[in-house]
C-alpha cells in the first residue's frame, strides 16, 4: 500500500459517499471566491476606466494649474504661455451642463462640456479634437457648434448636423452637432466645444477651469512645480498627473473598499462551510482514521491526507470561483454598469480586463481560506488516540476542544479594543477587523451557548410533558451541540451580517429621511440649470420670483465648488440665509455647535459638514481661512452639520457674507414656501409664465425626497444581493450538514424505529432539531448582527463616508427574515429527514448480514 494510492482511494471514497456535502463546500468556496473576484474585477474595471476617461480629458500634460475656487481668471493663461520654461499652455474650461429632460439621477442629467482651443489641445489631448464634416474644419472653432462622444450622441439621441438644446442658466441655447469625438472612451459622455464658445454661450467670460502645461525639454518637473507654485502664490494649485490620479482615486476609494469588504464576507461565510465540512468529515471518519493509524499510518501522513483533501477542495472551488466570478462581473457590468448602479463612476462603460495576477491572488485567497478551514479538524484528528477513537459514540467530545472559550473571549475582547482605534489611511480597517473578530468569537462561542441553552431548556421542561420526540431533540442539541453548531457557523455568519446590514441601511434610511425633512423644508425648489461657477439667477430674475404671489417665504441659495486640498475632491460651498437666532432652524446641525448667542458679532460664521471635521480637521470655535472672494477671508467654524449628500465635505455660510465678499449677487437655487391654501400647481404655472420660466427646473420637495430614496435604494441593491448570496451559502451549509448528519445517524433512527418511534415522529424530531438550532442561531445572529451594526453605524460609516447617523432597528423586516430562516432551515431538515425514515435505517441496526 503506497501512500499516494491510499490518498486517492480515501479521498475518492469519502467524496463519493458524501457528494452532497462536498458539493456544497465546493459551491461555498466557489461562490465566495466568485463574489470577491467579481467585485474586484468590476471595481477595478470601473475605476480604471473612470481614471482613464478622466486622464483622456486632461491629456498628457506635465503639470496642471487650477484655482482654489472652481475657476480661475484667464489672465493667467498668457503669463504661463510666455513662461520661459513652458513649451505649451493649454487652457481648458470644463462645465457640467444640464440637459433638459434628462434628469434621472444625481449626476445623470449633466453633460460634461470641455471647452478647448483645438490648436493648443492638439498637442496635449488630441483625443478631444472633434471630427467635423469634410471641409468644415472651422466648425471646431465656431461659437455655435458642439462635438459629442458616441455615448453622448446616443444618450441625447442626436447625430451630426442635428440641433442640440442645452440650458445655460435661465437661457436655452441651441448648438449644432458638428461631429463626433471618435476617440472618446466607450460610454464616456462628453462634449467638446471651442473654449471661446463655451465662455460666451455659458456665461463664463474670462473664466478657465485649468491650464495644462507641457514643459520644455530638460526642465525638472518636480522642481519647476515647486517653483511655479511659489510664483503663482496661494490662489492656485499646481498639480502633477499623479496628483490628479490620487484625487480621482480618493473620490471612490471608500466605496470600493467597502464593497470589497462585503464581498469578502461571502468568502468568510464560505470558510465556515469548509471548516464545518472538514470537521464533520473528520468526525465521521474517526474510526477510519483510527484504523489507519493502527495499521501504521503516521500522524504526518494522516495530517497530510486531511489537509490535502481540503487543498483539493480549495483548488477546485477556487478555479470554479474564478470562472464564475469573471462571468458574474461581465454580466453585472453589462447590466448594472461599472458602479453597480450607485453612480460612483458616472459616464463610463468599462470592459473587464482579466489580469492573471489578480486571478492568482484570488485563487490563493480561496485556497488558503480552505486550508485554514481544514487545519483545525486535521490537527484534531491527528491528536486523537486511535484506541479510543475506534470506539463509537464519543464523536462529539472531539469537537469540544475546538471551542475553547478562551479563544472566543480573546477574539471578542480584541474586537472591543479595535472599535476604539482610529482609521488607517482614512479607512476603517480596525472597524472591519472588529467585525471579523466579533463574528469569529461569536461563532466559536456558539456550541457552548447552544449546550447551555438547550440543557437548561431540557432541565426546565419535564420529559413527560414534552414527550419523547422533543426530549430526544433537545437532548441531542444539549449534549451534542458541536456538530450542530459547526453546521450553524455559516448561517450564523451570514445571518448576523444580514442583520447588521439591515440595521445599518435602515438607520441610514431613517436618518436620511429625517435629514431630508430638515434640508428640504420648503415646498418647492427652483433651480436654474447649473453652469459652472455662475449662479443662474441674476438680481432681476430673483426680484421677479419674489414679486410672484403665493409665497410665504423665499430663500435664495448660492452654491459653488471650492478646492481646499488639491489631493481631494472639491468641497461644496452653500451661501444661504441662515437663521441668526437659531441656525438649527436652517441646518441639520449636530450637537457640536456654538450657541447662537455666544457668536461674536464681527466674525463671519460657517457651518461645516462632518466630513470637514474628519478630512480637514475643522473644529468648532476655530478660525479658518477660505478662498471666498477676491482675497481669502477668515471665518469662524460655528457648528457641524450632517450631510449625507456630499462625502467630501460641504460648508454653509450666510448669503449676505458671501455677497459682501464676492460682490456676486447671482444665486443658483430658490426655496419657496407656499402660503396656506395656495396650490403648488398654480405656483408652478406662474413660475413657468416668467420670461425665463421654461428654463427653470422646478421640483417639489416630495419629488426630491422620492428621488433621493430611489438613488439610495439603488445604491444598496448590490449590498442586498451580496447578503442574500451569503445567506444562501449559509442555508446550503445547513442542508449539507443535515444530510451528512442524517447519514451518520442512521443507526440511531433505526433503533428508534424499532422501539416504536413513528416515521412522522422522526421527521418531527429532525425538524425540531433544525428549527430549535436555527432559532438559537437567529437569536444569536441577531445579537451578533446588532453588535456588528453598531460598528457599521458608529465606526465604519463615519470613518469611510464621514457622516454619522442614529441607530434604527427594522423590527418587521428582521422578524420576517428570522421567520424565513426558521422555515427554510426546518424545511431543509425535513427534506433531508426523508432519508432518516427509509428502509435502510432499519437495516443499519444490524451488525451482521
Amino acid at each position: 500500500m503506497k501512500p499516494p494510492s491510499i490518498f486517492r482511494w480515501m479521498m475518492i471514497s469519502e467524496w463519493r459517499a458524501h457528494i452532497m456535502q462536498i458539493a456544497v463546500a465546493l459551491i461555498a468556496i466557489a461562490i465566495g471566491v466568485a463574489m470577491a473576484f467579481s467585485i474586484h474585477l468590476i471595481n477595478s474595471a470601473a475605476f480604471n476606466e473612470f481614471s482613464a476617461a478622466s486622464k483622456s480629458l486632461s491629456g498628457q500634460s506635465d503639470l496642471q494649474v487650477r484655482g482654489r475656487k472652481a475657476f480661475l481668471d484667464e489672465a493667467l493663461y498668457p503669463l504661463l504661455a510666455k513662461h520661459s520654461s513652458i513649451a505649451l499652455a493649454n487652457p481648458v474650461l470644463e462645465l457640467d451642463v444640464a440637459v433638459p429632460g434628462k434628469q434621472q439621477g444625481r449626476n445623470d442629467h449633466k453633460l460634461k462640456i470641455i471647452g478647448i482651443d483645438p490648436f493648443r489641445a492638439a498637442q496635449i489631448s488630441p483625443d478631444l479634437l472633434g471630427v467635423p464634416e469634410e471641409g468644415e474644419t472651422l466648425d471646431r472653432i465656431a461659437s455655435d457648434t458642439i462635438f459629442l462622444s458616441p455615448a453622448a450622441m446616443e444618450w441625447l439621441q442626436v447625430e451630426q448636423g442635428d440641433a442640440l438644446q442645452l440650458q445655460a442658466g435661465l437661457q436655452a441655447i441651441t448648438l449644432r452637432v458638428a461631429g463626433g469625438l471618435v476617440r472618446a472612451r466607450a460610454g464616456q459622455r462628453i462634449a467638446v466645444m471651442d473654449i471661446g464658445a463655451v465662455q460666451w454661450r455659458f456665461g463664463q467670460i474670462g473664466q478657465l477651469s485649468r491650464i495644462e502645461l507641457k514643459l520644455k525639454d530638460g526642465i525638472n518637473h518636480a522642481a519647476f512645480k515647486t517653483r511655479l507654485a511659489k510664483e503663482l502664490g496661494e490662489s492656485y494649485w499646481v498639480m502633477e498627473a499623479a496628483d490628479q490620479e490620487a484625487r480621482i482615486a480618493n473620490m471612490s476609494r471608500a466605496y470600493r473598499i467597502n464593497l470589497n469588504m462585503l464581498a469578502l464576507v461571502a468568502l468568510f461565510t464560505g470558510t465556515f462551510l469548509v471548516f464545518s465540512t472538514q470537521a464533520l468529515s473528520v468526525i465521521r471518519r474517526r474510526q477510519q482514521f483510527a484504523l489507519l493509524r493502527v495499521l501504521g499510518f503516521t500522524r504526518q501522513q494522516l495530517l497530510r491526507q486531511i489537509i490535502a483533501e481540503g487543498g483539493f477542495l480549495g483548488i477546485m472551488g477556487s478555479v470554479l470561483g474564478l470562472g464564475l466570478g469573471y462571468a458574474v462581473a461581465a454580466v453585472a457590468i453589462r447590466f448594472l454598469g461599472g458602479d453597480l448602479g450607485t453612480n460612483f463612476f458616472p459616464g463610463v462603460k468599462p470592459g473587464i480586463f482579466f489580469d492573471p495576477w489578480d486571478a492568482v491572488i484570488f485563487f490563493a485567497i480561496g485556497l488558503s481560506v480552505t486550508l485554514l478551514g481544514s487545519i483545525a479538524p486535521a490537527l484534531e484528528a491527528v491528536r486523537a488516540r486511535p484506541a479510543l477513537a475506534l470506539r463509537s459514540g464519543a464523536e462529539d467530545a472531539v469537537m469540544a476542544k475546538l471551542s475553547s472559550p478562551w479563544f472566543a473571549v480573546i477574539c471578542l475582547s480584541l474586537a472591543l479594543l479595535f472599535t476604539q482605534l482610529p482609521p488607517i489611511f482614512e479607512l476603517p480597517v480596525f472597524g472591519y477587523l472588529a467585525i471579523a473578530l466579533l463574528l469569529i468569537g461569536g461563532i466559536t462561542l456558539m456550541p457552548r451557548f447552544a449546550a447551555w441553552t438547550f440543557a437548561s431548556l431540557l432541565n426546565r421542561l419535564h420529559h413527560e410533558r414534552i414527550g419523547a420526540v422533543f426530549t430526544l431533540a433537545l437532548a441531542r442539541l444539549a449534549n451534542a451541540p458541536n456538530q450542530a453548531a459547526i453546521a450553524l457557523g455559516g448561517i450564523l455568519a451570514s445571518f448576523s451580517l444580514m442583520v447588521a446590514m439591515a440595521i445599518m441601511v435602515t438607520s441610514f434610511r431613517v436618518s436620511i429621511d429625517a435629514w431630508l425633512g430638515q434640508v428640504l423644508p420648503a415646498d418647492l425648489y427652483v433651480r436654474a440649470a447649473a453652469i459652472g461657477d455662475q449662479g443662474g439667477f441674476q438680481s432681476d430674475a430673483q426680484n421677479a420670483i419674489i414679486a410672484l404671489p403665493g409665497f410665504d417665504r423665499v430663500d435664495f441659495f448660492r452654491t459653488q465648488q471650492l478646492t481646499l486640498d488639491i489631493n481631494r475632491p472639491d468641497v461644496t460651498l452653500f451661501a444661504r440665509p441662515v437663521d441668526k437666532e437659531d441656525p438649527r432652524n436652517t441646518l441639520p446641525l449636530t450637537d457640536d455647535v456654538i450657541a447662537p448667542g455666544s457668536l461674536p458679532e464681527e466674525v463671519m460664521p460657517v457651518w461645516v459638514s462632518e466630513a470637514m471635521v474628519d478630512l480637514y480637521g475643522y473644529r468648532v470655535g476655530e478660525k479658518v481661512v477660505l478662498p471666498i472672494g477676491a482675497v481669502p477671508s477668515e471665518f469662524l467654524v460655528a457648528g457641524v452639520w450632517r450631510d449625507y449628500g456630499r462625502q467630501f465635505g460641504a460648508i454653509q455660510m450666510q448669503l449676505t457674507d458671501y455677497q459682501r465678499l464676492t460682490g456676486d449677487l447671482s444665486v443658483n437655487n430658490v426655496a419657496l414656501w407656499l402660503q396656506a391654501g395656495t396650490s403648488s400647481d398654480t405656483v408652478v404655472a406662474s413660475l413657468r409664465q416668467l420670461p425665463f420660466g421654461a428654463a427653470l427646473e422646478i421640483s417639489r420637495s416630495s419629488d426630491m425626497r422620492a428621488l433621493s430614496f430611489e438613488i439610495f435604494d439603488r445604491s444598496f441593491a448590490v449590498t442586498y444581493l451580496l447578503e442574500i448570496v451569503a445567506v444562501v451559502i449559509g442555508l446550503l451549509g445547513v442542508a449539507a450538514s443535515f444530510s451528512a448528519q442524517i447519514l451518520a445517524r442512521a443507526k440511531e433512527f433505526g433503533m428508534l424505529r424499532h422501539i416504536g418511534v413513528m416515521r412522522r415522529q422522526i421527521l418531527v424530531m429532525l425538524t425540531a432539531e433544525g428549527g430549535l438550532l436555527t432559532a438559537l442561531g437567529v437569536v444569536l445572529g441577531f445579537v451578533l448582527g446588532w453588535g456588528i451594526s453598531l460598528i457599521l453605524v458608529f465606526i465604519v460609516n463615519p470613518q469611510s463616508f464621514h457622516w454619522t447617523m442614529q441607530l434604527h432597528l427594522p423590527w418587521g423586516w428582521l422578524l420576517a427574515i428570522a421567520v424565513i430562516m426558521l422555515i427554510s432551515a426546518a424545511l431543509t431538515a425535513l427534506f433531508f429527514g426523508r432519508k432518516a425514515v427509509s428502509v435502510q435505517v432499519i437495516r443499519a441496526v444490524r451488525e451482521d448480514w
Partner: protein, 221 residues
C-alpha cells in the same frame, strides 16, 4: 402469543429467503433461533417486528395481524408490546442512561418513575446521569436490556445480544436477559450463532430453508 402462518418473503425472484414458514410461540416462552448466515434470521425478526411485510402469509401478535398493519399501527404495537436488544447496543450517545432507558416510557406516555428501579435491576444503580461514553460494552448492553424491558413489553426480541462482548460478560448479560424476560412474564426470542447464548433459552429452534425446527437434542449443551 406469536403466530407465523405460511410466511414467504423474498428480495428478488430467485432469492426467496423464507418459504411458507409457519410457527406458533406461546406466551411466556423464551426461545433461541439459530441458523446459518443469510438464512433469513434478520428478515424474520423484521417481519415479526412489523418493520417489513411478508410477500404472503400472516403474522399475529396476541391475535393482532401485525403483518397487514399500516406502518403507524405497527409502530404503535411495537412501541407498546415489543422490546429490542441489539448486538451493537444502540444506546443514544447524547442521552443519559436514565434518559435512554426512559425512552419507551416517554413514547408510550407512561410515567418514568420506574427508571431507577430498572437501573438497579440491571446492575447500574446510581448511574442514571452518566452518558454512554463512560460505559463499557457490557454495561451498555445492560442499558439496552433495561430499555427493552422498562415498559413491560409482551415480546422481547434480542438480536445476537452478546456478539460484541467477551464470554464472561456475555454470560452475565444472557443471564440478565433471561431473568428479566421471565421476571416480566414476557415472551422472548433470541437470535444467535452462539450455542452458549442459545442454551439460556427454553427451547432452541433452527431456521433452515425448510422452516423452523426444534434443534436436535445433540445440539443442546
Amino acid at each position: 402469543m406469536l403466530e407465523l402462518r405460511n410466511i414467504t418473503k423474498g428480495y428478488a425472484e430467485n432469492r426467496k429467503v423464507l418459504i411458507n414458514l409457519s410457527y406458533t410461540l406461546n406466551a411466556g416462552e423464551y426461545v433461541a433461533i439459530m441458523g446459518e448466515s443469510g438464512v433469513g434470521k434478520s428478515t424474520l425478526l423484521n417481519l415479526i417486528a412489523g418493520l417489513d411485510s411478508p410477500d404472503s402469509g400472516e403474522i399475529r401478535i396476541n391475535g393482532a395481524a401485525i403483518s397487514s398493519m399500516q406502518d403507524d399501527a405497527a409502530t404503535q404495537l411495537r412501541r407498546e408490546q415489543f422490546g429490542f436488544i441489539f448486538q451493537a447496543f444502540h444506546v443514544l450517545p447524547h442521552l443519559t442512561l436514565a434518559q435512554n432507558i426512559a425512552l419507551p416510557l416517554l413514547l408510550n406516555g407512561i410515567a418514568t418513575d420506574c427508571v431507577n428501579q430498572m437501573l438497579e435491576q440491571v446492575g447500574l444503580h446510581g448511574r442514571g446521569h452518566h452518558f454512554p461514553r463512560q460505559l463499557s460494552g457490557g454495561e451498555l448492553q445492560r442499558v439496552a436490556i433495561a430499555r427493552a424491558l422498562i415498559h413491560r413489553p409482551r415480546l422481547v426480541l434480542a438480536d445476537e445480544p452478546t456478539g460484541n462482548l467477551d464470554p464472561d460478560t456475555a454470560h452475565e448479560i444472557l443471564q440478565l436477559i433471561r431473568r428479566e424476560i421471565k421476571a416480566n412474564g414476557a415472551t422472548g426470542i433470541i437470535v444467535t450463532h452462539s450455542h452458549m447464548a442459545a442454551a439460556t433459552a427454553d427451547r432452541v429452534l433452527h431456521l433452515t430453508k425448510n422452516g423452523l425446527h426444534p434443534a436436535q437434542p445433540g445440539h443442546n449443551l
